[in-house]
């Protein structure tokens, strides 16, 4: 379990993280979302004691990271794939990391096997591709068989097989009762992996909820309707909570009323309906709705 209380980090006069409080539960995969510059990485760095908070505190299983007696056996960390000396082979990197905790060669071989880097383990890490570097970082995080895993963008640069492996692996770890906190920009991937989501924006917690509850709260179900007598149907469904948006001639997106009600209404009025599709919101929709105001580096709309 990771508990952050009023965690704050300022760099000069810029506040990267502002009074952030959250709890990452064990037995779940918690997704850490937010636009670039939202403070995700800084928060993760504070959890593992690389950055000192300006104010507030954060503990792992009730203890500040710097006071853990066997950090690698309690917390596995992947902050970025480049936290490896480029002149050292992957195997020697893992051996050196393992040695700090008296972890033997057998376990080093095990994590090499597990992450599928056996064929390149004796090459220098500087020659690794992004994906291989990512696997090496995950291997290092697993060395101590930790109860808590903190993975910053673990699937960044991985091939589809690797992405699926990470998803199944972290689901498996959570099922064993471990704590998993991972960040990703791939919304579809996060939707399939996370149980719980914490969304950061401009250094503040924008949302902290079960994934399904978050999607429900921040998206609306829309119903796509295609009909030759659309205007009559639109007039019939209109109500205070109902919005009808014309998408193209003969087609509209209606929110605030279920597909079943629209179908029933059309049948009772004898209006032919050519298409009636119910669309649930996605995590991406919820995320964009939530962070719309908090995006620091906004891209220009393509018109």
């Amino acid at each position: 379990m990771i508990v952050a209380e009023q965690l704050t980090k300022r760099f000069g006069d810029k506040t990267a993280v502002s009074e952030v409080s959250f709890t990452v539960q064990s037995g779940k995969v918690t997704g850490f979302l937010g636009p670039n510059g939202a403070g995700k990485s800084t928060t993760m760095r504070m959890i593992v004691g690389l950055d000192s908070p300006t104010a507030g505190s954060v503990t792992v299983n009730g203890t500040p990271y710097r006071q853990l007696r066997a950090p690698l056996a309690e917390v596995g960390v992947l902050l970025d794939a480049k936290a490896v000396h480029t002149g050292r082979s992957a195997r020697n990197h893992l051996r050196a990391m393992a040695a700090t905790h008296g972890i033997g060669r057998a376990r080093v071989d095990e994590v090499i096997e597990l992450t599928g880097i056996g064929s390149v383990a004796d090459k220098r890490a500087g020659k690794f591709s992004l994906g291989m570097g990512q696997r090496l970082g995950i291997a290092a995080a697993l060395l101590g068989d930790p109860h808590t895993l903190i993975l910053d963008e673990p699937v960044n640069g991985l091939d589809p097989e690797g992405v699926r492996w990470v998803r199944q692996f972290v689901r498996h770890l959570a099922a064993e009762g471990r704590t998993v906190l991972l960040s990703s920009h791939l919304m579809s991937e996060m939707a399939q992996t996370a149980d719980h989501v914490i969304v950061l924006g401009r250094g503040k917690v924008l949302a902290d909820a079960e994934l399904s509850a978050l999607v429900r709260a921040w998206t609306s179900n829309t119903v796509l309707v295609r009909s030759p007598r659309l205007s009559e149907l639109a007039a019939a469904v209109s109500g205070p909570d109902v919005t009808v948006t014309a998408a193209e001639p003969g087609m509209a997106e209606i929110t605030g009323v279920s597909a079943a009600s629209i179908g029933d209404l059309a049948a009772s009025l004898g209006i032919p309906v050519h298409e009636l599709t119910s669309r649930t919101g996605s995590l991406e929709d919820a995320y964009l709705a939530l962070t719309g105001e908090a995006v620091e580096y906004k891209s220009k709309e393509i018109s």
Partner: protein
């Protein structure tokens, strides 16, 4: 049973056999040091340079006239090899900053003081061993070239200057390590180390020509690392305490500042 039952049932604490200890940390730093090519390049260059220059000096020693202490042939190359030692010390830590390895190091061992001490111990030990081996080869290689061999019956002409030579090489390495921890940037740390070890003594020498008013700078210059090491490795030297203290100060102060920097700044 009751004692066990009151223990919090956190899985990792009860079952993990792994422990972070200083001994384990030393082992880790040792693996890191010897698994980099740059370490062996530095040590190889230092050893080759040292042995080759020793042989050159020994070969020319007959023209120096009587009274040239044989052990000086072995120790004189230090004024060149000290730079390699300083650079090795610096890159041991700056290489971790430039590659990002430092973040892995500090998540495995969050006690930053322990990281400084472990690195210092490991790199000192390796430098000492390699220097002793280099001296041994130099002694054997120069023996046929010297008209008068090393007088082993007189410690002040043999084992004492040699021991101080080993100590000086270790000190130069640690000076580089200290500046590496402070500056973090490879080029900056190497420039600072070379400046202190090599350039400052030359600057001080220039003041000997500047007249009596600048005498104090020349006097202070005796306490620069290279000059302190030179007095320690001169056979038959007397009153070595100030030189030992100077060298110790140059070694410990940058390391202490480096530890302070590591402790207070974000990695």
């Amino acid at each position: 049973m009751t004692a066990l039952a009151t223990e919090p049932a956190t899985r990792s604490r009860t079952t993990s056999p792994y422990r972070l200890t200083f001994g384990h940390l030393l082992r880790s730093e040792w693996i890191k040091l010897v698994s980099l090519r740059s370490t062996w390049w530095s040590l190889g260059v230092a050893a080759a340079l040292s042995i080759a220059i020793s042989m050159m000096i020994a070969g020319a020693s007959s023209s120096f006239g009587p009274g040239f202490p044989a052990v000086s042939a072995v120790l004189s190359p230090t004024q060149f090899t000290m730079l390699v030692a300083g650079i090795l010390g610096a890159i041991v830590i700056t290489g971790e900053y430039s590659t990002g390895m430092i973040r892995s190091t500090l998540t495995a061992e969050p006690h930053r003081g322990a990281v400084v001490v472990a690195k210092a111990v490991v790199v000192s030990a390796l430098m000492a061993v390699v220097t002793i081996a280099t001296y041994a080869v130099s002694i054997v290689a120069t023996a046929p070239l010297l008209s008068e061999g090393i007088d082993w019956s007189e410690p002040s002409q043999s084992i004492v200057p040699l021991a101080f030579g080993v100590l000086s090489m270790v000190a130069f390495t640690l000076i580089g390590l200290g500046f590496g921890f402070i500056v973090r940037n490879g080029a900056g740390a190497i420039a600072t180390t070379v400046g202190v070890l090599f350039v400052l003594p030359i600057v001080v020498t220039m003041f000997t020509m500047a007249g009596e008013g600048w005498r104090w700078i020349v006097d202070l210059g005796q306490y620069l690392p290279m000059n302190a090491a030179a007095s320690l490795t001169t056979p038959g030297g007397e009153d070595l305490v100030p030189a030992v203290l100077a060298l110790a100060g140059w070694t410990l102060v940058p390391l202490l500042i480096g530890w302070g920097v590591l402790r207070t700044r974000d990695a």
